[in-house]
Protein backbone atom coordinates (compact mmCIF):
# COMPACT_ATOMS: atom_id res chain seq x y z
CA UNK A 1 0.00 0.00 0.00
CA UNK A 2 1.30 3.44 -0.88
CA UNK A 3 0.74 6.01 1.82
CA UNK A 4 0.65 9.55 0.47
CA UNK A 5 1.86 11.83 3.20
CA UNK A 6 -0.24 14.94 3.60
CA UNK A 7 1.76 16.22 6.55
CA UNK A 8 2.39 19.94 6.51
CA UNK A 9 4.09 20.30 9.89
CA UNK A 10 6.25 17.62 11.43
CA UNK A 11 7.76 17.72 14.91
CA UNK A 12 10.38 15.13 15.76
CA UNK A 13 11.44 14.79 19.39
CA UNK A 14 11.39 18.54 20.01
CA UNK A 15 12.70 19.99 23.27
CA UNK A 16 13.06 23.60 24.24
CA UNK A 17 14.36 25.52 27.23
CA UNK A 18 14.31 29.25 27.75
CA UNK A 19 17.63 30.91 28.44
CA UNK A 20 18.52 30.73 32.11
CA UNK A 21 15.59 28.44 32.95
CA UNK A 22 16.35 25.24 34.79
CA UNK A 23 13.40 23.28 33.58
CA UNK A 24 12.62 22.59 29.99
CA UNK A 25 9.53 24.26 28.63
CA UNK A 26 9.13 21.42 26.15
CA UNK A 27 10.39 17.89 26.38
CA UNK A 28 10.53 15.38 23.52
CA UNK A 29 7.40 16.43 21.67
CA UNK A 30 6.61 14.64 18.40
CA UNK A 31 3.55 14.88 16.20
CA UNK A 32 2.53 15.72 12.67
CA UNK A 33 -0.16 18.04 11.42
CA UNK A 34 -1.99 17.05 8.26
CA UNK A 35 -3.11 19.44 5.58
CA UNK A 36 -6.65 20.67 6.20
CA UNK A 37 -6.73 19.41 9.77
CA UNK A 38 -8.38 21.29 12.65
CA UNK A 39 -6.13 20.62 15.61
CA UNK A 40 -6.69 21.89 19.15
CA UNK A 41 -3.98 21.96 21.79
CA UNK A 42 -5.06 22.13 25.42
CA UNK A 43 -3.16 22.19 28.70
CA UNK A 44 -3.05 24.30 31.85
CA UNK A 45 -1.03 27.52 32.12
CA UNK A 46 2.65 26.70 31.95
CA UNK A 47 2.16 23.35 30.24
CA UNK A 48 4.25 24.51 27.30
CA UNK A 49 1.52 25.06 24.75
CA UNK A 50 2.36 28.69 23.97
CA UNK A 51 6.03 27.82 23.62
CA UNK A 52 4.95 25.12 21.22
CA UNK A 53 2.99 27.64 19.15
CA UNK A 54 6.02 29.92 18.81
CA UNK A 55 8.13 26.99 17.64
CA UNK A 56 5.75 26.20 14.78
CA UNK A 57 6.83 29.17 12.67
CA UNK A 58 10.37 29.55 13.90
CA UNK A 59 9.84 32.43 16.33
CA UNK A 60 11.62 30.09 18.72
CA UNK A 61 13.97 27.35 17.57
CA UNK A 62 14.08 23.90 19.18
CA UNK A 63 17.00 23.28 21.53
CA UNK A 64 16.84 19.65 20.45
CA UNK A 65 14.93 17.81 17.77
CA UNK A 66 13.56 19.15 14.53
CA UNK A 67 10.49 20.89 13.18
CA UNK A 68 9.67 20.88 9.48
CA UNK A 69 7.10 23.05 7.76
CA UNK A 70 6.38 21.91 4.21
CA UNK A 71 9.64 20.00 4.42
CA UNK A 72 11.66 23.08 5.42
CA UNK A 73 13.35 22.88 8.82
CA UNK A 74 12.49 25.96 10.90
CA UNK A 75 16.12 26.10 12.01
CA UNK A 76 17.16 26.74 8.40
CA UNK A 77 18.03 30.45 8.54
CA UNK A 78 18.00 30.89 4.79
CA UNK A 79 14.39 29.75 4.44
CA UNK A 80 12.79 30.95 7.64
CA UNK A 81 10.77 33.54 5.72
CA UNK A 82 9.30 30.79 3.58
CA UNK A 83 8.17 29.08 6.78
CA UNK A 84 6.47 32.24 8.02
CA UNK A 85 4.64 32.59 4.73
CA UNK A 86 3.20 29.12 5.22
CA UNK A 87 2.31 29.49 8.90
CA UNK A 88 0.23 32.55 9.83
CA UNK A 89 -0.16 33.32 13.49
CA UNK A 90 -2.60 35.14 15.76
CA UNK A 91 -1.61 35.91 19.34
CA UNK A 92 -3.48 36.41 22.61
CA UNK A 93 -3.52 40.15 23.17
CA UNK A 94 -5.55 41.91 20.45
CA UNK A 95 -3.79 45.21 21.12
CA UNK A 96 -0.23 44.00 20.97
CA UNK A 97 -0.35 42.67 17.43
CA UNK A 98 -2.06 45.60 15.80
CA UNK A 99 0.90 47.36 14.21
CA UNK A 100 -0.56 50.08 11.98
CA UNK A 101 -2.86 53.00 12.73
CA UNK A 102 -5.78 51.70 10.64
CA UNK A 103 -7.32 48.34 9.74
CA UNK A 104 -6.27 48.38 6.08
CA UNK A 105 -2.71 49.42 6.86
CA UNK A 106 -2.47 46.68 9.44
CA UNK A 107 -3.61 44.03 7.00
CA UNK A 108 -1.15 45.40 4.46
CA UNK A 109 1.74 45.15 6.93
CA UNK A 110 2.42 41.45 6.37
CA UNK A 111 2.15 41.80 2.60
CA UNK A 112 4.55 44.75 2.63
CA UNK A 113 7.02 42.61 4.54
CA UNK A 114 7.05 39.82 2.00
CA UNK A 115 7.16 42.24 -0.93
CA UNK A 116 3.70 41.82 -2.45
CA UNK A 117 3.38 44.28 -5.36
CA UNK A 118 1.33 47.30 -4.21
CA UNK A 119 -1.16 46.91 -7.08
CA UNK A 120 -2.23 43.50 -5.72
CA UNK A 121 -2.71 44.64 -2.12
CA UNK A 122 -5.99 46.42 -2.62
CA UNK A 123 -7.81 43.27 -3.74
CA UNK A 124 -6.16 41.05 -1.14
CA UNK A 125 -7.12 43.41 1.68
CA UNK A 126 -10.71 43.44 0.46
CA UNK A 127 -10.74 39.66 0.17
CA UNK A 128 -9.25 39.14 3.63
CA UNK A 129 -11.76 41.55 5.17
CA UNK A 130 -14.61 39.67 3.54
CA UNK A 131 -13.39 36.37 4.93
CA UNK A 132 -13.51 37.71 8.48
CA UNK A 133 -16.74 39.74 8.01
CA UNK A 134 -15.07 43.09 8.57
CA UNK A 135 -15.57 44.86 5.24
CA UNK A 136 -17.22 47.86 6.86
CA UNK A 137 -14.19 48.59 9.04
CA UNK A 138 -11.53 49.08 6.40
CA UNK A 139 -10.42 52.54 7.49
CA UNK A 140 -11.24 52.16 11.20
CA UNK A 141 -8.67 52.84 13.92
CA UNK A 142 -7.92 50.04 16.39
CA UNK A 143 -9.12 51.89 19.49
CA UNK A 144 -12.59 52.05 17.96
CA UNK A 145 -12.80 48.25 17.60
CA UNK A 146 -13.89 45.58 20.07
CA UNK A 147 -11.49 42.82 21.07
CA UNK A 148 -13.21 40.32 18.80
CA UNK A 149 -13.03 42.72 15.88
CA UNK A 150 -9.33 43.34 16.47
CA UNK A 151 -8.66 39.63 16.50
CA UNK A 152 -10.55 39.20 13.25
CA UNK A 153 -8.37 41.93 11.75
CA UNK A 154 -5.34 39.99 12.99
CA UNK A 155 -6.69 36.89 11.24
CA UNK A 156 -7.29 38.94 8.08
CA UNK A 157 -3.70 40.17 8.27
CA UNK A 158 -2.50 36.58 8.39
CA UNK A 159 -4.86 35.51 5.58
CA UNK A 160 -3.60 38.26 3.29
CA UNK A 161 -0.26 36.45 3.12
CA UNK A 162 -2.18 33.36 1.96
CA UNK A 163 -0.76 30.91 4.46
CA UNK A 164 -1.55 27.20 4.48
CA UNK A 165 -1.66 26.99 8.26
CA UNK A 166 -3.22 29.32 10.80
CA UNK A 167 -1.95 29.06 14.38
CA UNK A 168 -4.10 30.69 17.07
CA UNK A 169 -2.15 31.10 20.28
CA UNK A 170 -4.94 31.58 22.83
CA UNK A 171 -6.40 34.13 20.45
CA UNK A 172 -9.75 34.10 22.26
CA UNK A 173 -8.46 34.22 25.86
CA UNK A 174 -9.01 37.95 26.29
CA UNK A 175 -12.36 38.15 24.49
CA UNK A 176 -15.91 38.15 25.78
CA UNK A 177 -18.25 35.30 24.75
CA UNK A 178 -19.49 37.23 21.76
CA UNK A 179 -15.97 37.96 20.51
CA UNK A 180 -14.96 34.33 21.05
CA UNK A 181 -17.87 33.14 18.99
CA UNK A 182 -17.08 35.56 16.15
CA UNK A 183 -13.48 34.39 16.00
CA UNK A 184 -14.31 30.69 16.24
CA UNK A 185 -16.92 30.93 13.49
CA UNK A 186 -14.45 32.61 11.16
CA UNK A 187 -11.74 30.03 11.78
CA UNK A 188 -14.07 27.08 11.45
CA UNK A 189 -15.36 28.40 8.15
CA UNK A 190 -11.81 28.95 6.86
CA UNK A 191 -11.07 25.36 7.74
CA UNK A 192 -14.22 23.93 6.16
CA UNK A 193 -14.48 26.03 3.05
CA UNK A 194 -10.93 26.99 2.19
CA UNK A 195 -9.27 23.87 3.57
CA UNK A 196 -7.10 25.98 5.84
CA UNK A 197 -5.11 23.95 8.35
CA UNK A 198 -5.92 25.33 11.81
CA UNK A 199 -3.95 24.79 14.99
CA UNK A 200 -5.60 26.46 17.95
CA UNK A 201 -4.37 26.66 21.48
CA UNK A 202 -7.19 27.36 23.90
CA UNK A 203 -8.61 27.08 27.40
CA UNK A 204 -12.17 27.09 26.21
CA UNK A 205 -13.42 23.55 25.80
CA UNK A 206 -16.43 24.45 23.71
CA UNK A 207 -14.00 25.66 21.06
CA UNK A 208 -12.41 22.23 20.77
CA UNK A 209 -15.53 20.10 20.33
CA UNK A 210 -15.51 20.23 16.54
CA UNK A 211 -11.77 19.64 16.20
CA UNK A 212 -10.46 16.71 14.19
CA UNK A 213 -7.93 16.06 16.90
CA UNK A 214 -6.97 17.32 20.37
CA UNK A 215 -3.47 17.27 21.79
CA UNK A 216 -3.09 17.46 25.58
CA UNK A 217 0.06 19.04 27.00
CA UNK A 218 1.33 18.79 30.55
CA UNK A 219 4.69 19.81 32.00
CA UNK A 220 6.13 20.39 28.55
CA UNK A 221 5.21 16.92 27.32
CA UNK A 222 2.60 15.67 24.96
CA UNK A 223 0.58 13.47 27.30
CA UNK A 224 -2.40 12.60 25.16
CA UNK A 225 -3.94 12.96 21.76
CA UNK A 226 -7.03 11.81 19.93
CA UNK A 227 -10.48 12.79 18.79
CA UNK A 228 -12.54 14.96 21.14
CA UNK A 229 -14.61 11.86 22.01
CA UNK A 230 -11.61 9.81 23.04
CA UNK A 231 -9.88 12.62 24.95
CA UNK A 232 -12.94 13.82 26.87
CA UNK A 233 -13.77 10.28 27.91
CA UNK A 234 -10.89 10.42 30.36
CA UNK A 235 -12.54 12.71 32.86
CA UNK A 236 -10.50 11.83 35.95
CA UNK A 237 -7.25 12.08 34.10
CA UNK A 238 -8.09 15.50 32.62
CA UNK A 239 -9.11 16.79 36.04
CA UNK A 240 -5.83 15.64 37.48
CA UNK A 241 -4.09 17.71 34.81
CA UNK A 242 -6.04 20.78 35.97
CA UNK A 243 -8.32 20.72 32.94
CA UNK A 244 -12.07 20.76 32.63
CA UNK A 245 -14.31 18.57 30.55
CA UNK A 246 -17.31 19.78 28.56
CA UNK A 247 -20.61 19.75 30.43
CA UNK A 248 -22.07 16.86 28.40
CA UNK A 249 -19.03 14.65 28.91
CA UNK A 250 -18.95 15.40 32.62
CA UNK A 251 -22.62 14.51 32.92
CA UNK A 252 -22.23 11.20 31.07
CA UNK A 253 -19.27 10.32 33.22
CA UNK A 254 -21.25 10.98 36.39
CA UNK A 255 -24.22 9.04 35.08
CA UNK A 256 -21.99 6.13 34.18
CA UNK A 257 -20.83 5.97 37.77
CA UNK A 258 -24.48 5.65 38.74
CA UNK A 259 -24.80 2.62 36.50
CA UNK A 260 -25.96 4.23 33.26
CA UNK A 261 -24.51 2.85 30.04
CA UNK A 262 -23.60 4.96 27.00
CA UNK A 263 -22.44 3.29 23.80
CA UNK A 264 -20.64 6.40 22.53
CA UNK A 265 -19.61 9.63 24.23
CA UNK A 266 -21.87 12.49 23.21
CA UNK A 267 -20.40 15.99 23.05
CA UNK A 268 -23.63 17.95 23.51
CA UNK A 269 -26.49 18.02 25.99
CA UNK A 270 -28.87 17.05 23.22
CA UNK A 271 -26.78 13.99 22.47
CA UNK A 272 -27.01 12.95 26.10
CA UNK A 273 -30.78 13.37 26.02
CA UNK A 274 -30.93 11.22 22.89
CA UNK A 275 -29.00 8.48 24.67
CA UNK A 276 -31.20 8.70 27.76
CA UNK A 277 -34.37 8.45 25.72
CA UNK A 278 -33.28 5.63 23.43
CA UNK A 279 -31.76 3.53 26.18
CA UNK A 280 -35.07 2.90 27.88
Amino acid sequence: MVVVSKAIIRLADVSFSYEGAEERALQGVSFTVEKGEFLSIIGHNGSGKSTLAKLLNGLLLPSEGKIEVNGIPTADDAHIWEVRKVVGMVFQNPDNQFVAPTVEDDIAFGMENIGVPPVDMEARIQDALEQVNMTGFRTAEPNRLSGGQKQRVAIAGALAIQPAVLVLDEATAMLDPRGRKEVLEVVQRMNREAGMTVIQITHYLEETLDSDRIIVMDGGRLVGEGTPESVYQQVDWLRRLGLDVPFACDLQYRLQQKGFRFSTLKMTGEGVLDSLWTSD
Partner: protein, 297 residues
Protein backbone atom coordinates in the same frame (compact mmCIF):
# COMPACT_ATOMS: atom_id res chain seq x y z
CA UNK B 1 -23.65 48.65 54.05
CA UNK B 2 -26.60 48.96 51.73
CA UNK B 3 -26.29 50.26 48.21
CA UNK B 4 -29.09 52.18 46.59
CA UNK B 5 -29.19 53.78 43.15
CA UNK B 6 -32.05 56.00 42.04
CA UNK B 7 -32.30 56.52 38.29
CA UNK B 8 -28.55 57.00 37.92
CA UNK B 9 -27.25 58.12 34.55
CA UNK B 10 -23.70 58.50 33.40
CA UNK B 11 -22.38 60.20 30.28
CA UNK B 12 -18.74 60.12 29.20
CA UNK B 13 -17.31 63.43 27.90
CA UNK B 14 -20.63 65.27 28.06
CA UNK B 15 -20.98 68.26 25.76
CA UNK B 16 -18.38 67.04 23.25
CA UNK B 17 -18.83 65.25 19.93
CA UNK B 18 -17.60 62.11 21.77
CA UNK B 19 -20.39 62.23 24.36
CA UNK B 20 -21.58 58.75 25.16
CA UNK B 21 -24.30 57.80 27.61
CA UNK B 22 -23.11 54.57 29.18
CA UNK B 23 -25.81 54.36 31.85
CA UNK B 24 -29.33 55.36 30.95
CA UNK B 25 -31.09 55.35 34.28
CA UNK B 26 -30.17 52.56 36.68
CA UNK B 27 -32.07 51.94 39.89
CA UNK B 28 -31.13 49.13 42.21
CA UNK B 29 -30.88 48.14 45.85
CA UNK B 30 -28.22 45.75 47.10
CA UNK B 31 -28.73 44.88 50.79
CA UNK B 32 -25.61 44.28 52.86
CA UNK B 33 -24.10 40.81 52.80
CA UNK B 34 -25.36 39.69 49.44
CA UNK B 35 -23.29 37.97 46.78
CA UNK B 36 -24.40 39.70 43.62
CA UNK B 37 -23.38 39.04 40.02
CA UNK B 38 -23.58 41.65 37.28
CA UNK B 39 -23.75 40.08 33.84
CA UNK B 40 -23.77 41.68 30.42
CA UNK B 41 -21.74 41.76 27.26
CA UNK B 42 -19.01 44.33 26.60
CA UNK B 43 -20.44 47.82 26.37
CA UNK B 44 -23.57 47.04 28.41
CA UNK B 45 -22.54 49.51 31.12
CA UNK B 46 -21.16 47.08 33.71
CA UNK B 47 -17.79 48.69 34.16
CA UNK B 48 -19.28 52.17 34.37
CA UNK B 49 -21.64 50.97 37.07
CA UNK B 50 -18.92 49.52 39.28
CA UNK B 51 -16.78 52.62 38.96
CA UNK B 52 -19.71 54.67 40.21
CA UNK B 53 -19.99 52.43 43.25
CA UNK B 54 -16.62 53.49 44.66
CA UNK B 55 -16.72 57.06 43.48
CA UNK B 56 -14.21 56.82 40.63
CA UNK B 57 -16.99 58.21 38.49
CA UNK B 58 -19.79 60.41 39.75
CA UNK B 59 -23.33 60.20 38.39
CA UNK B 60 -24.20 62.83 35.78
CA UNK B 61 -27.83 62.49 36.84
CA UNK B 62 -29.66 60.77 39.67
CA UNK B 63 -28.40 60.02 43.15
CA UNK B 64 -26.93 57.06 44.89
CA UNK B 65 -26.41 55.97 48.46
CA UNK B 66 -23.48 53.72 49.33
CA UNK B 67 -23.64 53.08 53.05
CA UNK B 68 -23.36 56.49 54.68
CA UNK B 69 -22.11 58.16 51.49
CA UNK B 70 -24.45 60.09 49.23
CA UNK B 71 -23.28 60.56 45.67
CA UNK B 72 -22.68 62.91 43.99
CA UNK B 73 -21.16 64.35 47.20
CA UNK B 74 -21.49 67.93 48.32
CA UNK B 75 -17.70 68.27 48.50
CA UNK B 76 -15.08 66.16 46.78
CA UNK B 77 -13.20 65.28 49.98
CA UNK B 78 -13.91 61.99 51.63
CA UNK B 79 -13.79 59.94 48.45
CA UNK B 80 -10.79 58.09 49.89
CA UNK B 81 -12.97 56.98 52.80
CA UNK B 82 -15.54 55.63 50.39
CA UNK B 83 -12.89 53.75 48.44
CA UNK B 84 -11.61 52.12 51.63
CA UNK B 85 -15.04 50.72 52.23
CA UNK B 86 -15.77 49.75 48.66
CA UNK B 87 -12.83 47.72 47.34
CA UNK B 88 -12.62 47.44 43.58
CA UNK B 89 -10.41 44.95 41.76
CA UNK B 90 -10.25 45.74 38.07
CA UNK B 91 -9.89 43.25 35.26
CA UNK B 92 -6.33 41.89 35.11
CA UNK B 93 -5.56 43.45 38.52
CA UNK B 94 -1.98 42.13 38.36
CA UNK B 95 -1.21 44.99 35.97
CA UNK B 96 -1.36 47.39 38.92
CA UNK B 97 1.46 45.72 40.89
CA UNK B 98 4.47 47.97 41.27
CA UNK B 99 6.39 47.32 44.50
CA UNK B 100 9.64 45.44 45.01
CA UNK B 101 8.10 42.78 47.21
CA UNK B 102 4.73 41.13 47.53
CA UNK B 103 4.32 42.34 51.12
CA UNK B 104 5.10 45.96 50.21
CA UNK B 105 2.63 45.87 47.36
CA UNK B 106 -0.18 44.46 49.46
CA UNK B 107 0.56 47.08 52.13
CA UNK B 108 0.07 49.97 49.67
CA UNK B 109 -3.61 50.47 50.46
CA UNK B 110 -3.01 50.35 54.23
CA UNK B 111 -0.26 52.96 54.03
CA UNK B 112 -2.57 55.20 52.03
CA UNK B 113 -5.22 54.70 54.72
CA UNK B 114 -2.73 55.98 57.27
CA UNK B 115 -2.81 52.84 59.38
CA UNK B 116 -0.24 52.80 62.23
CA UNK B 117 2.90 51.05 60.86
CA UNK B 118 2.93 48.40 63.59
CA UNK B 119 -0.46 47.15 62.49
CA UNK B 120 0.47 46.75 58.85
CA UNK B 121 2.56 43.52 58.72
CA UNK B 122 -0.10 41.48 60.51
CA UNK B 123 -2.88 42.56 58.21
CA UNK B 124 -0.73 42.06 55.11
CA UNK B 125 0.12 38.49 56.04
CA UNK B 126 -3.48 37.76 56.92
CA UNK B 127 -4.61 39.04 53.51
CA UNK B 128 -2.02 36.89 51.77
CA UNK B 129 -3.21 33.82 53.67
CA UNK B 130 -6.77 34.71 52.76
CA UNK B 131 -5.97 34.48 49.03
CA UNK B 132 -4.09 31.23 49.58
CA UNK B 133 -0.50 32.45 49.45
CA UNK B 134 1.97 31.56 52.20
CA UNK B 135 3.35 34.94 53.36
CA UNK B 136 6.66 33.41 54.46
CA UNK B 137 7.19 31.76 51.12
CA UNK B 138 6.04 34.55 48.81
CA UNK B 139 5.99 37.71 50.95
CA UNK B 140 9.52 38.88 50.20
CA UNK B 141 9.61 37.85 46.57
CA UNK B 142 9.19 40.33 43.76
CA UNK B 143 5.61 40.17 42.52
CA UNK B 144 6.93 40.16 38.96
CA UNK B 145 8.67 36.83 39.54
CA UNK B 146 5.41 35.01 40.27
CA UNK B 147 3.17 33.10 37.89
CA UNK B 148 0.15 34.81 36.37
CA UNK B 149 -2.28 33.17 38.78
CA UNK B 150 -0.15 34.05 41.80
CA UNK B 151 0.18 37.67 40.68
CA UNK B 152 -3.57 37.84 40.42
CA UNK B 153 -3.86 36.60 44.01
CA UNK B 154 -1.38 39.18 45.24
CA UNK B 155 -3.37 41.92 43.51
CA UNK B 156 -6.60 40.68 45.09
CA UNK B 157 -4.90 40.58 48.48
CA UNK B 158 -3.97 44.22 47.89
CA UNK B 159 -7.67 45.04 47.77
CA UNK B 160 -8.82 42.64 50.49
CA UNK B 161 -6.23 43.92 52.94
CA UNK B 162 -8.18 47.15 53.31
CA UNK B 163 -11.01 45.05 54.65
CA UNK B 164 -13.67 46.68 52.51
CA UNK B 165 -17.34 46.28 53.35
CA UNK B 166 -18.13 45.86 49.70
CA UNK B 167 -15.84 43.89 47.41
CA UNK B 168 -16.25 44.43 43.67
CA UNK B 169 -14.46 42.11 41.28
CA UNK B 170 -14.39 42.83 37.56
CA UNK B 171 -13.91 39.48 35.83
CA UNK B 172 -11.42 38.18 38.36
CA UNK B 173 -10.74 35.03 36.31
CA UNK B 174 -10.11 36.59 32.89
CA UNK B 175 -7.30 34.81 31.08
CA UNK B 176 -6.81 32.06 33.69
CA UNK B 177 -6.90 28.36 32.89
CA UNK B 178 -9.80 26.21 34.19
CA UNK B 179 -7.99 25.19 37.38
CA UNK B 180 -7.02 28.79 38.18
CA UNK B 181 -10.51 29.94 37.32
CA UNK B 182 -12.20 27.65 39.83
CA UNK B 183 -9.56 28.25 42.48
CA UNK B 184 -10.06 32.03 42.38
CA UNK B 185 -13.86 31.84 42.42
CA UNK B 186 -13.86 29.29 45.24
CA UNK B 187 -11.50 31.51 47.19
CA UNK B 188 -13.79 34.50 46.69
CA UNK B 189 -16.82 32.45 47.77
CA UNK B 190 -14.95 31.36 50.91
CA UNK B 191 -13.93 34.92 51.74
CA UNK B 192 -17.52 36.01 51.22
CA UNK B 193 -18.78 33.39 53.67
CA UNK B 194 -16.13 33.99 56.30
CA UNK B 195 -16.21 37.77 56.37
CA UNK B 196 -19.41 39.72 56.51
CA UNK B 197 -19.41 41.75 53.38
CA UNK B 198 -21.17 42.39 50.10
CA UNK B 199 -19.53 40.79 47.10
CA UNK B 200 -20.22 42.04 43.58
CA UNK B 201 -18.92 39.83 40.79
CA UNK B 202 -18.83 41.16 37.25
CA UNK B 203 -18.72 38.30 34.81
CA UNK B 204 -19.50 37.12 31.28
CA UNK B 205 -20.07 33.60 32.49
CA UNK B 206 -23.64 32.57 33.19
CA UNK B 207 -22.28 29.39 34.76
CA UNK B 208 -20.26 31.31 37.34
CA UNK B 209 -23.06 33.76 38.05
CA UNK B 210 -25.49 30.92 38.65
CA UNK B 211 -23.11 28.87 40.76
CA UNK B 212 -21.80 31.58 43.07
CA UNK B 213 -24.24 34.48 43.32
CA UNK B 214 -27.48 34.83 45.30
CA UNK B 215 -28.83 37.54 43.07
CA UNK B 216 -28.20 38.55 39.44
CA UNK B 217 -28.38 41.79 37.52
CA UNK B 218 -28.35 41.38 33.75
CA UNK B 219 -27.31 44.60 32.04
CA UNK B 220 -28.04 45.61 28.49
CA UNK B 221 -27.63 48.93 26.70
CA UNK B 222 -26.91 50.86 29.87
CA UNK B 223 -29.91 49.55 31.79
CA UNK B 224 -30.75 46.82 34.25
CA UNK B 225 -32.34 44.41 31.80
CA UNK B 226 -33.31 41.69 34.25
CA UNK B 227 -32.79 40.99 37.94
CA UNK B 228 -33.58 38.29 40.42
CA UNK B 229 -32.26 35.04 41.80
CA UNK B 230 -30.55 32.84 39.19
CA UNK B 231 -33.64 30.69 39.23
CA UNK B 232 -35.89 33.65 38.42
CA UNK B 233 -33.64 35.15 35.77
CA UNK B 234 -33.12 31.93 33.87
CA UNK B 235 -36.85 31.35 33.50
CA UNK B 236 -36.80 33.74 30.56
CA UNK B 237 -34.30 32.50 27.99
CA UNK B 238 -35.73 34.73 25.27
CA UNK B 239 -35.02 37.89 27.21
CA UNK B 240 -31.55 36.66 28.09
CA UNK B 241 -30.77 36.08 24.43
CA UNK B 242 -32.02 39.57 23.61
CA UNK B 243 -29.28 40.85 25.88
CA UNK B 244 -26.75 38.95 23.78
CA UNK B 245 -26.23 36.29 26.45
CA UNK B 246 -26.82 32.56 26.71
CA UNK B 247 -28.34 30.40 29.43
CA UNK B 248 -25.91 28.28 31.43
CA UNK B 249 -25.40 24.94 29.71
CA UNK B 250 -26.95 23.07 32.59
CA UNK B 251 -30.10 25.20 32.44
CA UNK B 252 -30.33 24.73 28.69
CA UNK B 253 -30.10 20.99 29.29
CA UNK B 254 -32.94 21.12 31.82
CA UNK B 255 -35.08 23.11 29.39
CA UNK B 256 -34.51 20.56 26.66
CA UNK B 257 -35.13 17.69 29.06
CA UNK B 258 -38.47 19.09 30.16
CA UNK B 259 -39.40 19.80 26.56
CA UNK B 260 -38.81 16.15 25.65
CA UNK B 261 -40.83 15.00 28.63
CA UNK B 262 -43.67 17.22 27.51
CA UNK B 263 -43.58 16.11 23.85
CA UNK B 264 -43.26 12.40 24.55
CA UNK B 265 -46.10 12.58 27.10
CA UNK B 266 -43.88 10.52 29.38
CA UNK B 267 -44.66 10.15 33.07
CA UNK B 268 -41.16 11.32 34.06
CA UNK B 269 -41.31 14.37 36.31
CA UNK B 270 -39.83 17.54 34.81
CA UNK B 271 -36.54 18.76 36.32
CA UNK B 272 -36.53 21.85 38.57
CA UNK B 273 -34.74 24.91 37.14
CA UNK B 274 -32.70 25.74 40.19
CA UNK B 275 -30.07 23.04 39.70
CA UNK B 276 -26.71 24.59 38.88
CA UNK B 277 -24.48 21.69 39.85
CA UNK B 278 -23.70 18.67 37.70
CA UNK B 279 -23.70 16.37 40.72
CA UNK B 280 -27.20 17.40 41.74
CA UNK B 281 -28.40 17.04 38.18
CA UNK B 282 -26.98 13.52 38.03
CA UNK B 283 -28.84 12.53 41.18
CA UNK B 284 -32.10 13.92 39.85
CA UNK B 285 -31.65 12.10 36.54
CA UNK B 286 -30.71 8.87 38.27
CA UNK B 287 -33.75 9.09 40.52
CA UNK B 288 -36.07 9.64 37.56
CA UNK B 289 -34.76 6.90 35.32
CA UNK B 290 -34.29 4.35 38.08
CA UNK B 291 -37.84 4.92 39.25
CA UNK B 292 -38.97 4.24 35.72
CA UNK B 293 -37.01 1.03 35.52
CA UNK B 294 -38.43 0.00 38.91
CA UNK B 295 -42.00 0.53 37.78
CA UNK B 296 -41.32 -1.51 34.69
CA UNK B 297 -39.88 -4.50 36.57
Amino acid sequence: MDIRLENVKYTYSPGTPFAYQALQGVSLHIPHGRYVAIIGHTGSGKSTLIQLLNGLLLPTEGTMQVGEFTLPPKKKKGMEKLRQQVGLAFQYPEYQLFEETVRKDVAFGLINMGLPPEMIPGRVDAALRLVGLDPDKYGDKSPFMLSGGQMRRVALAGVLVMNPQVLILDEPTAGLDPAGHHAILDMIARVHREEERTTILVTHSMEDAARYADYLYVMNEGRIWMEGTPHQVFQDPVKIRQAGLELPEITRFIFEFNERVRISGSKIAPLPFDIFDAGMLTNELARRFRRKEGSRG
